[in-house]
Each structure stands twice: as structure tokens, then as C-alpha cells.
Amino acid sequence: MKRGKITVCILLAFVLTIMAPATTASANQATSYTYTLEIKSGSYEFPRTQDAYLPDKTVTKLELSKPTDVFITQDNRMFICDSGNKRIVIYNIDTDTVVDEIKGGELKTPMGVFVTKDGCIYVADNGAKAVLKYSPELELLNTFTRPTQPSFSDTNFDPLKVAVDNAGNMYVISEGVYNGIIQLAGTGDFLGYFAVNKTKLTPSQLVQKILFTREQLANLTATVPTTFSNVYVDDMGIVYSTSMGNADECLKKHNTSGGNMFMEGIVGWDDVTDVTTDKNGIIYTCTERGYIEIYSKNGEFIFEFGSFVTNVDIAGLFSSLPSIAVDNNGFIWGVDKDKGYLQSFKPTDYAKQIYGAMGLYEAGKYEESLSAWRDVLRLNQMSVLAHNGVGKALFHAQRYEESLEHFEVAENRNYYSEAFWEVRNQKLQVILPYVFALIFLLIVVNIVIKRVDKKGKLKNFKKDLTNKMLDTPVLGDVLFMFRVARHPGDRYYDIRVANSVRGASKFAGHGHASVIGAAIIYVLTFITYMVYSTMKGFIYQYVAVEDMDIGGSVAGFFVLIGLFVICNWLVTSINDGDGSLKTVFILPAYAVAPLIVGMLSVTVLSYAMTYNESFILTIIMVVTGIWSFVNLFTGLMNVHDYSFGETVRSFIITFFFMAVAVIIGLIVSIMFEQLFGFIVSVGRELILNVI
């Protein structure tokens, strides 16, 4: 008995050790990494994620030569535009056989192929300068050559790609046409240019355009808009286009008037060659270098995979990728232009789950999409896409509180703000009665105190207390900044009198400015600034603390103040300024009280505010900033006994001087670095050669 058990155990262990590598091997078929998009602290990052597609079948038997376009119909027949062999190959994906081909005298250099729902085949033939239309039985029905309409004038008509919408209108991309996509009616009449890529002028070109005469402008090299590289029409009749040369315009989804529906811009590359969609509306694009990108219906970047290689035969990598298509089962088919073979990619469960969750969300089934997104999260805890999906599903299910954490992980600040508004509103409704009661109570208490305390004892007590605090040595020196903020003119005059007139005793009033006080205020300001820039609420904290250069801000802050003080003292002392170095050191510190209060209150408020009320924070910062600046300005004016104009001038000279000092400092430090390097290399030389 016992023996038998042991044998079983050993056998089991043996089997397991054999099985284990087998499973990992099947998961490792991918020949390139899959990347997803993450927007972190405002910049795009492409972290690796699970493999979304695995290379599946490689079809080499078709003997293609320079294939330029592929199209897959709903019944899984693939039309391949085999331009090198001047033919259209029809290949059945399911049975892996060539069904048929179009090869005839009229086909010269076919570049693009498109098949409508009713089976008509359109071929853009660059050599024949025409669009050819074939019946489902592969008989030539029509040849659309250059439109004769006067409005088309003598524009080139060398079709590269063609697509046809549900009404039978053709969208033709022609070589050397910058006006846009040529739109032809079913009869071949020219309807107009569909979408137009605008020329984008650089600022210098803009200035030239405004200033130059017509002749001068004519002499400049013409700026041409980015050219369209492909056009596609999906089942719904929506036109998609891709452009080369400008990554911002790489993919467009057009409305009926030709406008771009991806208003918020798209993340992509500048060499996009083809676009296609599947039955769920997921958008696939490919780039010349062999990358395939997948976007959601609304143009959100889902992931991309692929790699750029030359002359390496690895399944799934292309040396030149002109076209892709998606079949019935969601497999992506790409064609290599140089090597002339087909390659298919099989979606992994990970990709399928993401598409499924997206579809559910689009259909408005939020509860179901929620669980689908949760499944994706189980596969990838850090998926921004999934966190966004879960968050949005929760948001639409009105479970705002739960959605917050997902939006936080996904760094989706706009949705976080919206959700937070709802959460806050719910809390507000609970608290509001108490707040009103409290306000009412305060009003009553205030009235009662006024009635009882007719002699103003309480007021006097408060005044005495502040005066006592102001008279305390160090604390009073710091608190004095608030008195400065209230009456900058008078207080700075006091500071000047106290520090410059010899033998002047204490002036009237409580508290006074001192060097220790100023130093403490500088440190306080710095601490406040660090709190302000690192500890704001999530939606206002754009840069994560770990991405910040703390050392830099420490050095920058104190160097800046030191520079200002020294430069201002130097500049003013040769310009009849009355201030000593001591007063110039004290002066800026006592100006910043409003800014300290402003930064602290904004930091606190940022936890309670949504984007809806962001203007309150802006106004606080602007007002306190201007207030502090006015303090500083009146301070300089009073301390140096300057007029308004003199103060402005001394300000400008000070800043100029600061800039010069920084530049000199940089040069000196670089020279010292060189010197240090020189000494080190001499030392090395000595060690190597002498010892």
C-alpha cells in the first residue's frame, strides 16, 4: 500500500515537472512586446503589459509580390491587392485556400481594394489611373477615370486607395493631391474634396505670412498639408482616414461633413499606413515600421504591439507593413510588402476581455461591464484602462464613492472631480443643517456678546493679547509680517526709520522687524511652499511627489532669495538707495505674509474643491500673489526712499543683475568642473605611469 502511494507521488511530481514548462512555452509565443498607454504627471508613457496578440498563421504559399492592400469581407474571404503580379487574390481564411483571382488586361498597378456589403469589388489602380468596379462574380462593371467636372480642373488622378460608403459614394486617395480625399458619386462624378488636412504654420511662418508681400511669399517654399495615406469605411458608413507625416493627425474618424470626430487628439505615430475596424467598432491601425495599434471606438489608445526589424525572419515582425485587416474571429491579418507573405495574429484572452468590457460599457450595461473590467483587473492590477473602465462603470451606476479610488489609480482627474462632486454633495446634504444652525448660533452669540460687553472688554482683551504676542521677542518679530501686510507703506517706513536713522529709538506700535524674524519667515515660506507643491488634493496635484526634484527646489529657493537680496543691495547702494544690507534682507521676508496664507489655504481647500470651483483657488493665488508683490514694491520704495519710477527701474536692474550673476556662476562652475577633471586625469596619469 505504502509503496503504491509513493510511486503515485513520484509519478505525479514527474508529470507536473513535464507539464509546467509546456504551459509557460505556450504563453511565450509572442515575438514582440505589447505596450499600453499611461499618462503620468502629464506626460505619455508606454509601459509593457500582457501580450494582447500572439502570432498565429504565416501564409507564404500565395506567392505575392509587393502586396499593398488587404480587405476581409464578412464571410472571411480576404482580398489581397497583389500589385507586383497585377492581380487581386481572393483567399478564404477558414479553408486556407485561394478561391479565385482577378487578373486581366485592365489591371495595371492595383494599389487598393475595397469590397462593399453587397459584394462589389472596387480597385484603385494607379497604373490605369482609374477606379475599377467589379461585380460579385468578378466581371468588370465600370471604370471610373479622371472626373471631367470643371471643378476638378487638372488635378492628378492616380488612385492609391479607395473606399465606398453605403450610398455608393467613392472616397479616393490619389497620389500628389493635397486638397483632401476625392469624393466621387456612384456615377463617377466629382462631388468635392471630403476631408481636408489643413496646413499648420509654425509661428515664424505665421509672422512671415503677416509681414511679407505677395512676391516674397511666392518665393518661400510652399507649405503643404500632411497627405492622406489611407481611407476606410466601416459597416455603419463612417469614414476613417489615416495621414502620414504628422502624428497629431495620424487617425481621423469623420462625420458626414468631413470633420474630425476625435476632437481631443489621438496618440499615434507619423507613419500610419492603414486603418480598419472590427464589428464592435474597435479601430486598428498599422504603421509602416510594423507596429499595430488598437484604439477604442472613441479613439482612446488601448495598446500596441510589434517591433521594427529588417531582414530577420521572425513570425509577427514585418519589414514593411502596408495594410492590415480583421477577420470574423477578431484575428488581425497583416501583409508584408517586401517579403510578400500574410501573417495573422490571434487575440489573447486579455485582449478579448478588454474588448468585451468596452462593448458592454458602450451598450450601457454598466453592471455587466463592471464585472468584465474587474476580470481585466484580475489579469493586470495596474491596467489604467481597466481602472478607468471600472471607475466609469461605477460612476454611471452612481456608486461615486467606490469609483474615486479607481480614477485615482488611473489618474483620471476629470472624472475624479465629477465623482468627487457627487460624493461631496451627498455629504453636504447631511452637514448643511448643522452648518446653518452653527451660523445662526454664532450670530446670536455675537449679538449677545455685544449686548453684555458694552464697554468692549472682550475687544480690548483681544487687542491686549495680540499686542502682548507682538511684543514677545521672536514670535512677535514673525507675527509682525501680518501688520506689514495690512499697512505696507506705514510699516516699511517704520522699518526704515528703525534701521537707518542712528540713535532712533523704538517707534510707536507693537512688534518690529528683525533679522532673526526675517530668517524664520524665509524658512516658514519655504516649508509652506513645499507643503503647497507636494500635499495638494489629488485633482490639483498634477506632479507626483516622487517625480519632483526636491533638492533642486531647496537650492533654487534659497539661491534665488540670496541672489535677490545681494543684487538689490548692490544695485541700490550705487543708486542712492537708503537701505542697508540688513534692511534689504528683512524687506522681502515681511512682504510674503499674504502668499503664505494663500498657499496654505489653497492646499487645504484643494481637498474640498472640484474642478468646478477651481477658480476660487486661482483667485486666492492671484490675489495673494499680487498683494505680496505690492508689499515688496512699497517696501523697496520706502526703504530706499525711491519714487515710483526709480523703484521700477531698480527692480528691472536687479533682475538683470541676477540673470548675469546666474550665468557667471554657471560659467565658473563649468570651468571648475573642467579643472577638477583635469586634475583627476593628471592624477590618474601619475598613478598609471609613475607608480
Binding site: 462632486w421 454633495n425 446634504q429 470651483e613 477658480f615 483667485i619 519714487s643
Partner: protein, 309 residues
Amino acid sequence: MIAANTKRIKKSAADVREGRRSMLLLFPYAILFSLFILVPVVIAIALGFTYFDVINKPSFTGLMNYIYLFTQDTVFMKKVLPNTFLYALIVGPGGYAISFLLAWMLAQIQSIPRTIISLAIYTPSMVGQVFIGVVWKTIFSGDQRGIINNILLELNLIDTPIQFLLTKDYFMQIMIIISLWSAMGIGFLAMISGILNINEELYEAAYVDGMRNRFQEIIYITIPSMKPQMLFGAVMAIVNAFNMGWIGVTLSGANPTPEYAGQLITNHIDDYGFIRYEMGYAAAISLMLLIVVYLFNKVAHKFFGSKDE
């Protein structure tokens, strides 16, 4: 003792007669005041506690209107309240500061150009609505004939004309610009007269005492000497800032404004009072507006009010 008492009685009888006489004199004003101001205000406050649709009798609902305002009315909490505060915070102090600066600058020049220029500056606040219809609507028109759109298109900065007055993106900013442009109203005129009334000798004396520049002139002489006018200007600015809702309606041609982008409290009151005929609720919002304006006026009094008030 008795004599003193009778004297007092006699005196009080005279008082009563005197009182009656003044009451008689006061009567016409009291009647008119209560008829046209006091009673409507009291009725409005009372209506705030009812449901009233103009047709049926108002039914008492207690604090329901106020509870709804702060808990259910998301448009109010999400759009109207932030809009009103943003607008009032910029247009109130901003318009006030511009008014004062322009008044001060105008006070420095000769009488005839001053009269002409101040009339020109005052005009927008008088004929604002017409001006907005003619001038500003042309400037911000949403087709390519709109002046700004035309310039932007010409410079190739945009592809399609921007719908300035029909989308929420720019609406508030445009409203603020126009409001600042038309902020020089009665308060502005009062400030000019206030500045002109200041005794010149004050400045001379101050210069003898060591005053150095114009800035100090303003801070130490001009503003303290014209506190009543400053207060008046401030009150007018505050009332204006909370009352200019019609600008948004005129610009967009509709109440509510596009996506509630320019919806101020007064528009919200209009919306409920005269479009939905929920007078009770509108009255409740009006009372809230009254309280807010009152609080801001308190602040103005703190700055410019005289001490003995």
C-alpha cells in the same frame, strides 16, 4: 413734586401733538413706501415659504424651498453658484477698480475733454443692451463674418469658426469682458464728482509735510476724502455684479444660457419665476440673493463707512 409732574404731562401732551403733526407730514411717504416697497418685499419673503404657481392659491410648505435649493437643485449648486461667485468676484472688484482709476485719471484733465470722455465712458452702462446686440454680437459672432472668427481664420489659427456665444467654453469670459466694459455706471460719475470736490489745499499741505508722489496722494488724501462716494460706488458695484444676469441672456438669446455656462442667480430666478412659474421657489432664491448682497454690502461698509454709523 406735583408741579413738576403736571409740567411733564404738559410737555408730553405737546410732544404728542408735535408727533401727530410729523406723522401727518410723513403719511404720504409712508403710504407710498409701504405700498410699493415694504409690502412687496414682505410678500416676497412670505412667498418663499410656499408653493405658488401664479394660478392656484399659494400653499404653505415651510422650509421645503430652501431645502430643495441646497440639496436637490444640482444646477444651482453645480453651475449657478460657482458662476455667480466667479462673476461677482471679478466684475465687482474689477469694475470698481477700473471705475476709480478712470475717474481719477479724468479728474486730472481739463473740464471740457473730461465731460466729453466721461460721457463716452458712461454710455455703455446706459445703452448696454443695445450695444451688446449690435457691437459685441458682431465681434463674437459664431460664423466667419464674426470679427474675431474672421481674424483667427485669416491667420489660419482655427479650421472652423468658434461658436463663441453658443458653447460653454468661452461664454463666461465674454460675459466678464463685456461687464467690465460697461461697469462705469452711476458709481463712476459719483467718484468723479467726489474727486473733483476734494480741497486742493489738502494736497499742498501734504506735499509740505513730505508727501512724495501721486501714489501717496491717492492712498492718503484722495480715498480718505471721498469715502461717501467710494461707499456709494462700492454698493453700486456689488448690486451690479449680482444683477447683470441679462448680459448672458442677451448674448445667447436664450435663458438658460448654453449649458448653463453664463447662468447667474438672477437668471435662475427668472428661469423659475417667469418660465416655470414656480414663484415660491423663485422668491426663496431671491431671498438668498438678498442675503448675499447684504453681506457684501457689510464688507463695503467696513472699508468705507464712516465711524459714527
